[in-house]
């Protein structure tokens, strides 16, 4: 039996090697225009001053970052051909590719790295990424040393994707405000594989191949046309009739499942791990019945996740039971999944001192901030009615109305979606730290406070030993899963769609389209 099993492994290995060789056999072709889309209007093309998935796409084409990541979350050289972290974790040295140039032909120097760090610290929305960086030394033109106040393992992921865009000091360092610099939207000078041809607000971004890109022979594409298309149904038709070759962040179950049936299209949810978009039910833990952990647990037991994932989302999402995306190496799968159990829910509510009184125990409100979440909150209302919790759905006129309610903790329950953005120290800590309670939308809006969680997160943020760090985050996930300040439901159903002539689509990384498309090529 064992022999047979080994044989099977060997056969599989041979098969995969064969598959790999056939894949290699197809020589990438230069040329062609990739027709793709942006699902919303851009604030700016300068990804050093703006995060988010919309700016991330053109941003990662225009600007190179020091590192890039493969699908096993291992850093790979990009603009930095190598890097070292000192033993005490206080110095991170980047050795830059020697002949790299900006789009205007000027060399990319270590002083540009120092400048970019300064710009990001001042103007980027994610302050925690580079907060521990006290200074950047530039011993020579190709070496940049980031000095840290304390060890900061999150820096590695913060140096990839679109989070650390290297921008030229000689263009953006002219004294104008970084955020409103006129060259953030026109005559952009970047360091990435593609340069800007034209940007028209509300219409398109057109990029063309940068011939002096620092990776020999890349990129393969001559041109990328990104059309701003806000209507998902129109985008779906465009994929089908060939007006779009490629697109990411499609998130409507009906459309995803329909496009899966189209012959010439591939539709896949892989490659979104570092974006890390999680869909969940937030609870205000500071007032009323929800201040009791047992009530929050009862709510988790009363809601049937399967119904949300399979009936509402039609199987387009992945299960997620903690605040970390299931694709992340830090994800702890060994937690309670709160399989639906009404008896347990009722028992917990009784125990918490909320007896059933004429079919009702108490009343709560539930909010939602965007139309796609409406079915979810309607379902939660129906599900909680079964255990005697009367839920009133409060609609918000628009996103800012909801954001205001969340930011000021004016809610009981709310549907919410929050992004991990690579390292937990960037996009996870903010939701749980006591010091970040009620600091606006997507802060710790649950008012959650647990001294051990604060301690773990502060330690994990500075722990350079990967195993120890993993153990800390595992414990953190155990605690928040048990205390349910948030009932973790699923990932957002982000999918990438591409036609069969698009090769090496960016679905094998972790940053989706917030990563360079220098390896993508088009079949004739």
């Amino acid at each position: 039996m064992k022999h047979l099993f080994n044989g099977l492994i060997a056969a599989t290995a041979v098969a995969s090697v064969l598959a790999a060789t056939t894949a290699i056999a197809e020589e990438p072709r230069h040329g062609g225009t990739l027709k793709t889309q942006l699902g919303n209007n851009l604030r700016t093309l300068n990804s050093a001053v703006q995060s988010g998935i919309v700016t991330g796409f053109p941003g990662a084409q225009l600007f190179a970052s020091p590192l890039r990541y493969d699908d096993s979350w291992t850093p790979q050289p990009y603009l930095a051909e190598s890097w070292e972290v000192s033993d005490d974790g206080l110095k991170v040295t980047l050795n830059l590719v020697e002949d790299a140039v900006f789009h205007d032909g000027e060399p990319i120097k270590s002083s540009d790295i120092a400048f970019s760090v300064k710009v990001i610290q001042e103007a980027h929305p994610f302050k925690s990424m580079f907060a521990p960086v006290t200074s950047v030394d530039t011993p020579d033109e190709h070496t940049a040393v980031l000095n840290l106040a304390h060890p900061h393992p999150g820096l590695m992921l913060a140096m990839s994707g679109q989070l650390m865009s290297i921008i030229p000091e000689h263009v953006y360092g002219d004294g104008q405000d970084f955020k409103t610099h006129p060259r953030n939207i026109e005559d952009v000078v970047g360091s990435g594989p593609f340069k800007l041809t034209e940007y028209k607000n509300g219409e398109h971004v057109i990029l063309e191949r940068f011939d002096d890109f620092f990776i020999e022979g890349r990129p393969y594409l001559d041109k990328i046309v990104m059309r701003i298309m806000r209507d998902s149904s129109a985008r779906a038709i465009a994929y089908e009739n060939g007006e779009l070759d490629f697109g990411a962040f499609e998130s409507e179950p009906l459309i995803i499942n329909r496009l899966k049936k189209v012959d010439h299209l591939t539709v896949t949810p892989t490659g979104y791990g570092a974006i890390g978009a999680l869909d969940w039910l937030a609870m205000n833990t500071t007032k009323g019945p929800l201040a009791d952990k047992r009530v929050r647990q009862a709510i988790a037991y009363a809601i049937d996740k399967n119904f949300i994932q399979n009936a509402l989302m039609q199987g387009t999402v992945a299960d997620s039971n903690t605040g970390i995306h299931p694709d992340s190496p830090f994800y702890n799968a060994d937690v309670n999944n709160y399989a639906v159990d009404l008896d347990k829910a009722n028992a917990l509510l009784d125990e918490a001192g909320f007896p059933m009184n004429g079919g009702e125990r108490f009343a709560l409100t539930i909010d939602f901030g965007w139309p796609a979440a409406k079915p979810h909150v309607e379902y939660v209302r129906a599900a909680l009615k079964k255990v005697g919790i009367n839920v009133e759905v409060r609609a918000s006129a628009d996103f800012p109305t909801w954001a205001k309610r969340m930011g000021t903790m004016d809610f009981d329950l709310s549907w919410d979606a929050v992004f991990n953005w690579g390292d937990p120290s960037i996009g996870v800590h903010r939701t749980y730290l006591t010091s970040n309670i009620a600091k606006g939308v997507w802060s710790n809006t649950q008012g959650y406070s647990n001294a051990r969680v604060d301690e773990i997160l502060n330690m994990a943020g500075k722990e350079n030993d990967p195993e120890k760090r993993k153990a800390l985050y595992a414990e953190f996930q155990q605690i928040v899963n048990d205390e349910v300040p948030i009932y973790f439901v699923q990932t957002l159903p982000y999918h990438t769609v591409y036609s069969n002539k698009v090769m090496n689509a960016p679905v094998n990384g972790i940053w989706s389209t917030s990563s360079p498309l220098d390896q993508v090529w088009l079949k004739e």
């Binding site: 929305p125 398109h204 046309v225 129109a234 800012p400 954001a403 903010r430």
Partner: protein, 329 residues
């Protein structure tokens, strides 16, 4: 001479009122935007996929959102009086250049859709008025009600499914295919091709309005004395309808069309969204959702200006043309 002075005086008074009205529009809308919950810092956070508390405060400080209401309002009105509509918070670009960059697309869409609706609507209306109980009349009535009651985004998507997917003769979205190379005519043809579906979709609402109005007024006119006189003189039916009746039945239709000036901003929002048409309507809509006060006020200021100037010109033209309007008592 007396008449000319009077005319000038009236014009100046009208202009004076127009300026006051514009400022009132600005103050009212500024207050409304201020009362709406949430601010642009929240929507910037949304676009950024989350934002640190420190950065949120930074944005509010930079855009002066932490100042008292009257200070913010005073600053804004001050800038407008210096002909400066300011910077869009959300797009970090000049409000005027954003509006001007979006205006041509909207004008093209709205004007062509209006013309199409006007011409086709009047033709259909006149035809059905001639035989009010005929099969064509019923068909026109059905078409009008259908066009008016079907939600315009639904009509748009239906058009897309039929003419872009099932019979792929028209492109799905946008105003041009940037991959097309060629001279002026190639580009113009390309834009025309992109224009067809959104134009038809948008005109479907107006079509209903115009055809019903044209039908009603035509029927009324056909029953009037001078038409009977014309018929009695022995003119053919065709001459009576197209030479005598049509001219007189057109004026209400044209008045209505004039009133649609404001549609430059409002009417096209949904159509622009469905067809990814890069116009002013979507910009206005999104700037409200984004709480981008300078941009939305700029657009409202601009559209108020268009309406006021339009009305002023109509009024003055009427005074010149029709001595009964505003003459000496």
């Amino acid at each position: 001479m007396d008449g000319a002075v009077n005319f000038l005086r009236v014009t100046l008074i009208r202009v004076f009122y127009a300026v006051i009205l514009l400022i009132a529009v600005l103050i009212l809308n500024f207050s409304l935007m201020h009362m709406a919950p949430g601010d642009v810092a929240d929507t910037i956070a949304q676009a950024a996929g989350g934002i640190d508390a420190e950065a949120l405060e930074q944005i509010r400080r930079e855009y002066g959102l932490d100042q008292p209401f009257l200070v913010q309002l005073g600053r804004y009105i001050g800038n407008v009086l210096r002909f400066d509509l300011g910077y869009s918070f959300f797009y970090s670009d000049k409000v005027t250049s954003l509006i001007l960059s979006r205006l041509p697309a909207t004008l093209l869409l709205v004007i062509t859709a209006q013309l199409l609706a006007l011409v086709v609507g009047v033709i259909l209306g006149v035809f059905s008025a001639r035989k009010p109980n005929g099969i064509l009349s019923h068909f026109v009535t059905f078409l009008a009600l259908f066009g008016y009651s079907a939600p315009v985004f639904w009509t748009g998507l239906l058009m897309l499914v039929i003419f872009s997917l099932m019979i792929p003769i028209f492109p799905v979205a946008g105003m041009r295919d940037v991959t097309i190379e060629g001279g002026f005519f190639a580009q113009a043809f390309d834009i025309a091709r992109h224009l067809v579906l959104p134009m038809i979709t948008l005109s479907s609402i107006f079509l209903a309005l115009y055809s019903r109005l044209a039908r009603a007024t035509m029927m009324e006119v056909l029953g009037s004395d001078y038409v009977r006189t014309a018929k009695a003189k022995g003119l053919t039916n065709r001459q009576v309808v197209y030479k005598h009746a049509l001219k007189n039945s057109l004026s209400p239709v044209i008045t209505l069309a004039g009133l649609q000036l404001s549609a430059v901003v409002s009417g096209a929002v949904l159509v622009e969204t469905v067809f990814s048409w890069p116009g002013l309507g979507t910009l206005a809509f999104q700037s409200i959702l984004a709480r981008d006060t300078p941009l939305i006020l700029g657009i409202l200021f601009f559209s108020a200006l268009v309406v006021i100037v339009g009305n002023l010109l109509t009024d003055l033209a009427l005074r010149l043309v029709d001595p009964r309007v505003g003459g000496k008592k």
